[in-house]
Amino acid sequence: MKKINHRIISTLLLMFFVISVIAQSQTKTISGKITDEKGEPLIGVAIIVKDQPGLGTTTDIDGRYTIKAGEYDVLVVKYVGYKVVELPVVKGQFNVQLEDENKKLDEVVVSAAGVIQRKATLSGAITTVDVSKLNVPTANLSNALVGNVAGIIGYQSSGEPGENKTEFWVRGISTFGANSKALVLVDGIERSLDELNYEDIESFSVLKDASATAIYGSRGANGVILITTKRGSAGKVNINFKAEYGYNTRSRTPIYTDGITYAEMANEACLTRYQEPIYSDQDIEIIRRNLDPDLFPNVNWQDVILKNGASNYRGTLSLSGGGSTARYYVSGSYYNEGGIYRTTNVNKYSTNVAYSRYNYRSNVDVNVTKTTLLKMGVSGYLVNQTKPGYSSDYIWGSLSNLTPLSVPRMYSNGYIPTYGSNDEMNPEVQLNNTGYKTVWKNKAETNITLEQNLDFVTKGLRFIGTFSFDTENENTINRFKNPELWRAERKRDSDGNLIMTRVASESLMSQSGESDGNRRSYTEAKLDYNTKIGEDHRITGLLMYYQQERVNTVNVTKDVRSSIPFRNIGLSGRATYGYKDRYLFDFNFGYTGSENFEPGERFGFFPAVSGAWVISEEPFVKQNVSWLDMFKIRYSYGEVGNDKLTDKDYEYEKRFPYMSFIDTSSSYNWGEYSSNYMQGYRITTIGSSNLTWETAKKHDIGLDLVLLKNKITFTIDAFTDHRSNIFIQRNLMPYSTGLQDLRPWANIGEMKSHGMDGVASYSDKIGKVNFTLRGNFTYATTDVLNYDEADNALWYQMRKGYRWNQSRGLVALGLFKDQEDIDNSPSQLAYGTYFPGDIKYKDVNGDGIINDDDIVPIGTTTVPSFVYGTGLSLSWKNFDFNILLQGAGMVDFFLSGNSVQPFSGGSVGNILEAMTNPEDRWISREISGTAATENSNAILPRLSYGSSSGSKNNFQQSTFWLRDGRYLRLKNLEFGYNFPRTLVQSLHATNMRLGFIGQNLMVFSPFKWWDPELSSSNGAKYPLSKTFSFNFTINF
């Protein structure tokens, strides 16, 4: 299969290549010399013949070139950093001195509706990103955003190939309603970010405030990410090839202790609770001497099923070029990433996780007439994924649950061992003997855009119409089996034989499949107006109409709602006025419609205004403060509506909440029992009339600063986002209403979020070293103002008044010192019996007893409130270097689970190596013989086993188990070497580069047991990968 795919792609690409290099007829041989301003020869300057794609050459080491061209052709001379020069052949002048393009071009920004704006004239909050900084050696672009893009908060919770994506939000989570995710638009169309080929990206911007997103109406309520893809430009053919090889290893993985330490701690846990020890003296000696590999095996399961690492590969080839009437950009790429599981070779199929993806893209622009431009884009991807029969959460769960002594890898009698099922199942069996899954995803995206210049109507007016059609499918085939699995009792019969219990019976391989798919069409019509009246008045206008339809093509059930297309419709517009580029005003609106509201209530109007004052353009500043290149203050206010009750496409049951739905209920019997009955019907979904938009009122105030001839740039924004009318399904309907199980929807939630984000950079040159130092941060926090909850006398137990997803628990005051300490403290018997060395809690409400009423908000949230990144780029001669440090703060999480709360699961659950130091736990003097070990400040309380005394008390969610999740990581370290021009030219190439990227090389954090970014309570997850990647790029 793979081979066939390779061949198809190869053939197609070869065809493009051949067509584009067919030489054209010529009449004249021309030669000349290109020099810079000082008269030094320039090497590698591109000379092309205008409108003859593929025809071109480059200058040699002496700056000389020779080219054949027709008598009336025009030569175009292009070199990076110099102005483009056109040389008509008829003029006979072929030696050129190129002019340095020393004046930096105005930085431009792709803003809403794909309009390219000068950054200086923006008044909304938009972050643009240098695309080259998003270069990640793994599959998914989302992993590059946090720390690189101001305004984005997120975290990556898995390193499994195919699942290693970052969940992110623009300016944090600003609603507890269903839909808090940003809208991602690729070439103006709602598409996924993750499967995008990084090399295809031309620009990347994030629209953050209401003014910037207003024209997207409700779809843009949570911020918008705008991506445009590369297009061809007139000139000679550009061929760009890049090959990458990377090696992924595990970053921090929990380390579990060995069998003997486990057994001794288990015994201590029992003895200290006055119970019989689990392991007898003989057992301990058998473990230490490894005399019984069946019952006391001492297995390190991580060593058994995990490799040191796995490889990934990526190859990308793109071709672009064209003439003045038509231009193209064509690319193809292949990516492959393997899993770090150590599978055996017993199967004819691979059970390791693996992810591979083919991407293709073709963007073609055709000038149909002098004023009409037709743009076509076709792109898509194909993903192949394999997984073992059991999910990675079960595999990693069993790694944390199966102790070194639980079961051996194989019983000596040939039986296959397991401890339990699912996350207690032998991980080696889960990986190798339970079959496999294959996932196949594909997506085809097509879009066509017509741009008609309407200068003949009025100057500066354009019409742009776009239609797109995307279709995607996902198929999963599960081939599942299960061997017969056994567990031996921890004793032998009188003949020394194992006493076996069958845990699972054999099931032969069986197949099942799942699929999912949808198609989406999108139509957009825009009128764009841009003019300058006199020298001082710049006016732009935009009117846009769009409609979108998405239909599920698979999983259509008998419920009609599953097949009715999901539709959006909207009319939006923008008007801007700029006076001398000094005073800027924008007005935006979105008038959007939603299917979720009653007829007559379906449309909402959401306006936004913004203004900016470019102080640096004021004459007195301009004249007196020469080091100030730009100083701008901005303000925007806008309203945005949200109509989505769920962010899951498949949850069609939540559509049309204003309608009631009737379904069958219990039946009614009469006469003789069970002989006569009538089917009952009732309203099972109650319609909520008067449901309306969730609205956001957003304020943003910002400052842009550019100093010292563009050496220093600085941008900072502060924002608030006040959401009201958030949709909530009511939980607290009184029984008297008869609705308490129907849970109607209502607009009752209210929440406020606020925060800041900013970027700063400093670029300069010291000697021959160019460098850029840059940094960015995003801070966002929330405050729930109203929630569907009853008033509570314990005000601190309400959601209202606290952050959304606020962590809550008891406040631990350390460990009880002695019985006297217990006697003098409030009773904690609500959580069972307890002894000295158990956790002491704070009586928050002062009622003399500790119970659930004392649970208070503690710490922050599991999603960071603060993320930041700082980086440095250096270039010296042919070398370049780039480093990015990324961090997160104001984040914490609770430890819980069998492997982090020792012996809380009895015989299930490993002990972390980091917990085995006796100094870290409270050990009673009866065991240690000295009172010195009764350390009431230890990080572990007095041990307990299973549900023995103290365990319920100690394993309550409390500050004792709360851990700070802040971290700082060396996210990217990149070296590059550009081969010397002479060598490059000898290969007829324009550029050759060898690079190294290290990703995730180091993590610094107060929490050491696993990577805190995983946001895992026990670390039992596929860890984030540490990647060493080499790449080679060549351009022709």
């Binding site: 390779h6 792609i9 190869s10 053939t11 690409l13 070869l14 290549f17 090839f241 090959a243 090889y245 090696y247 007898s280 003296d281 003989q282 057992d283 000696e285 058998i286 001497r289 490894n290 005399l291 019984d292 590999p293 069946d294 060593d303 490799k307 040191n308 690492g309 796995a310 490889s311 590969y313 190859g315 080839l317 193809g332 292949y334 150590r342 055996t344 051996p408 890898r409 194989m410 017969e484 056994w486 004793k491 032998r492 019969d493 009188s494 003949d495 020394g496 034989n497 076996m500 069958r502 019976s505």
Partner: protein, 455 residues
């Protein structure tokens, strides 16, 4: 003895990306040697004198883990033998200085002996202190999977039982049992357990065999009788109140023995230990009958306090009394066997009270049962009955002293081990097997056959 795992790098895949450029890449393959559990064993060094020091623990019961210390044992356990009081103990492992052995059953107290070497070069070492052996009583599981109802045949680890109902032992140690299931399509069956395997002899079908209740062998053990309840004309189409199998036919062909009318519910059968007379009952009319082989009919004996009595019958080993366990009236009667008339007569209350359920140990009528089931006798004349809804086994001496033999009165569950801590769930039948001196229990709701062994 863990060997280091090796990783070998192979240049394996040459990936042809595009036809223009060939991109060669290297793939790391983690190569698992897979031999990290292999132990290399060696015999004791012949040039060095083996010495013993001590062993522990110094006391324990069957299957105690025993560790023997000393030097130069070698690590090859085939060179070693351990005896406790002369009985051979299984050796699990040895690391040269410690032998790990399992105390065999019924070892009794005595010296621990280590034998080193292979014949003829064998040396014996006896530890100076005696091992004190505690005999133990034990409840264990014979076959079935706890809590799994099923009809699968197979070895002890795979076979599943439905609801074991009645057990009979053959002279050669084969255990025949009935899996409950009334009617023609309820998967009831006659099954047997032999040599660690469960086999189904016959399932309920449209023929003679449709609703089994009890099993008994004749004196010669060449015929196995099986009772049926004929209760429901929707499900039943047989008139064989007692059917039989013969050894000559390998217990695989069923034939009617006693024919009866519809709604003749035979629930109990007993074969006199000397004369071989067969007695059985009908729950419907409450009478006890004596079978008459010649006519395929029966003769009325007597009725106990009216109709609708579900009886289970057993003769004491001498054949003096027929013990009548009245399941739905929670008590036990006994009736004299008249050797001259070869009839049973004069039923009197032996233990428990008529229609008074409960759980109480005591003498005769002072004791209480809750739905006692098919009982059995040991050679000393003690009667054992499963006390179904008390989830335990009761023992009744010939003098009528009732005590609890196994299980915990009133607590259902599944637990092997010490008989008075073990748990059963609605035991239905107990049968004594003289071959291994054990009691076998049909543990109905656990879908198991259990064994009680007194060492």
């Amino acid at each position: 003895m863990k060997t280091k795992e090796k990783y070998v790098q192979y240049p394996v895949k040459g990936l042809l990306f595009f036809s223009i450029l060939i991109f060669l890449s290297f793939n790391f393959i983690g190569c698992n040697s897979g031999s990290d559990d292999e132990l290399v064993v060696s015999p004791p060094d012949p040039n060095v004198e083996t010495a013993i020091t001590n062993y522990y623990p110094d006391s324990g019961g069957v299957a105690t883990k025993l560790i023997l210390h000393g030097t130069n044992f070698g690590t090859d356990t085939s060179y070693l033998k351990v005896y406790v009081n002369g009985k051979k103990a299984a050796i699990i492992g040895c690391d040269g200085e410690a032998v790990y052995a399992i105390v065999p059953s019924r070892a009794d107290s005595g010296f621990v002996k280590l034998v080193v070497g292979k014949s003829p070069d064998v040396k014996e070492y006896v530890y100076p202190t005696q091992f004190k052996y505690f005999f133990s009583e034990n409840v264990s599981t014979v076959c079935g999977q706890n809590g799994v109802t099923g009809i699968d045949d197979g070895d002890v680890n795979t076979a599943t039982l439905r609801r074991p109902w009645n057990i009979a032992f053959d002279q050669d140690g084969t255990l025949f049992f009935i899996d409950e299931g009334r009617g023609q399509s309820s998967d009831g069956g006659l099954r047997k357990y032999v040599d660690g395997n469960v086999e189904t002899i016959m399932r309920n079908s449209a023929g003679v065999f449709q609703s089994p209740t009890a099993l008994a062998f004749n004196l010669a053990q060449d015929t196995l009788f099986m009772l049926q309840t004929i209760f429901d004309d929707n499900n039943m189409s047989t008139d064989a109140a007692i059917a039989y199998f013969t050894r000559n036919e390998g217990f695989s062909v069923i034939k009617p023995y006693i024919r009866a009318t519809l709604t003749f519910k035979a629930t109990g059968i007993a074969v006199h230990p000397t004369t071989g007379d067969i007695f059985f009952n009908s729950q419907m009319d409450g009478y006890i009958y004596k079978a008459d082989k010649a006519t395929m009919g029966y003769e009325k004996m007597f009725q106990l306090n009216g109709s609708d009595t579900e009886l289970k019958l057993a003769f004491d080993p001498q054949g003096e009394y027929l013990y009548i366990i009245i399941k739905n009236k929670h008590c036990i009667y006994r009736a004299q066997y008249n050797k001259s008339t070869r009839k049973v007569e004069n039923p009197t209350l032996f233990a428990g009270q008529w229609n008074a359920s409960g759980y109480l140990d005591g003498i005769g009528p002072a004791a209480k049962f809750d739905t006692p089931g098919q009982g059995t006798f040991d050679p000393d004349g003690n009667l054992y009955v499963p006390d179904k809804y008390n989830h335990c086994i009761r023992k009744i001496t010939p003098d009528g002293v009732v005590s609890t033999f196994a299980g915990v009165g009133g607590t259902s569950g599944y637990k092997d081990g010490d008989p008075l801590e073990s748990l059963f769930n609605q035991p239905e039948c107990i049968t004594y097997n003289p071959a291994d001196d054990g009691w076998y229990v049909a543990d109905r709701e656990n879908s198991l056959i259990r064994k009680i062994l007194v060492e």
